[in-house]
């Protein structure tokens, strides 16, 4: 995300964002864990992510366009880590799922 879309760094002035930094890895794990929570509650993503939805709406206020960038980078990472499993069907399903997750995180913005 930060290599391809450096504008996203503005949300993390307090972080060391070099590839492999401890802060990057720690925060990345938190984000992916939250995606995992959404996967486990795939039939009710809205309720699974409701606290995060409020956090992003009222505190973080990350511009919605950045969720598209992050979703894209997640897809690229999945594709490169699991090339055999990341079939066209998997790609389609993940693309759809991540756009739902992004929607939930931004739905309380206004």
């Amino acid at each position: 995300l930060f290599s391809s879309y450096p504008q996203a760094k503005t949300y993390f002035p307090h972080f060391d964002l070099h590839t492999g930094s401890a802060q990057l890895r720690a925060h990345g794990s938190r984000v992916v864990a939250a995606v995992g929570d959404a996967v486990k509650s795939i039939d009710n993503v809205t309720s699974a992510l409701s606290k995060l939805s409020e956090l992003h709406a009222y505190v973080l206020r990350v511009d919605p366009v950045n969720f598209k960038f992050l979703s894209h980078c997640l897809l690229v990472t999945l594709a490169s880590h699991f090339p055999a499993d990341f079939t066209a069907d998997a790609h389609a399903a993940w693309d759809k799922f991540l756009s739902i997750v992004s929607g939930v995180l931004t739905e309380k913005y206004r």
Partner: protein, 149 residues
């Protein structure tokens, strides 16, 4: 004017050399048409696009995908004058075909994902960044109608 660093050019040309244009191009265009069905609106003359398997197997889709990726290769040879190199394609896609710029951006992103799938762990963050830059630069000439320079 955006320039590529030596590392970025190397990242791009290395991967380029390893790719099968027809396969990757066809796959990327096919996925665009399957995942974002509204993009099919430009391809009425391509025959059977009625299902995912019809699209992925459609010879015109494969041929056009190959054409698109091959033109990326040409563009890289002219990376300092993309606007000139792409002038005719720009006219075709904007003025005659009335393509929505967003669709070209989507295709660019699908191409990056297909590249990642084919390259596995070799597709590092730096590689992705170089390719995202290339894809954006290639799409830009197609975004601007030729009558507004």
């Amino acid at each position: 004017m955006v320039h590529f660093t030596g590392e970025e050019k190397a990242a791009i040309t290395d991967l380029w050399g390893k790719m099968n244009m027809e396969e990757a191009g066809g796959e990327a265009l096919g996925r665009l048409l399957v995942f974002y069905p509204w993009t099919q609106r430009f391809f009425d003359s391509f025959g059977n696009l009625s299902s995912a398997s019809a699209i992925m197997g459609n010879p015109k889709v494969k041929a056009h995908g190959k054409k698109v990726l091959t033109s990326f290769g040409e563009a890289m040879k002219n990376s300092d004058n993309l606007k000139g190199a792409f002038a005719k394609l720009s006219e075709l896609h904007c003025d005659k075909l009335h393509g929505d710029p967003e669709n070209f951006r989507l295709l660019g992103d699908v191409i990056v994902i297909v590249l990642a799938t084919h390259s596995g762990r070799e597709f590092t963050p730096d590689m992705q960044a170089a390719w995202q830059k290339l894809v954006l630069l290639l799409v830009l000439p197609l975004l601007w109608p030729t009558n507004t320079t």
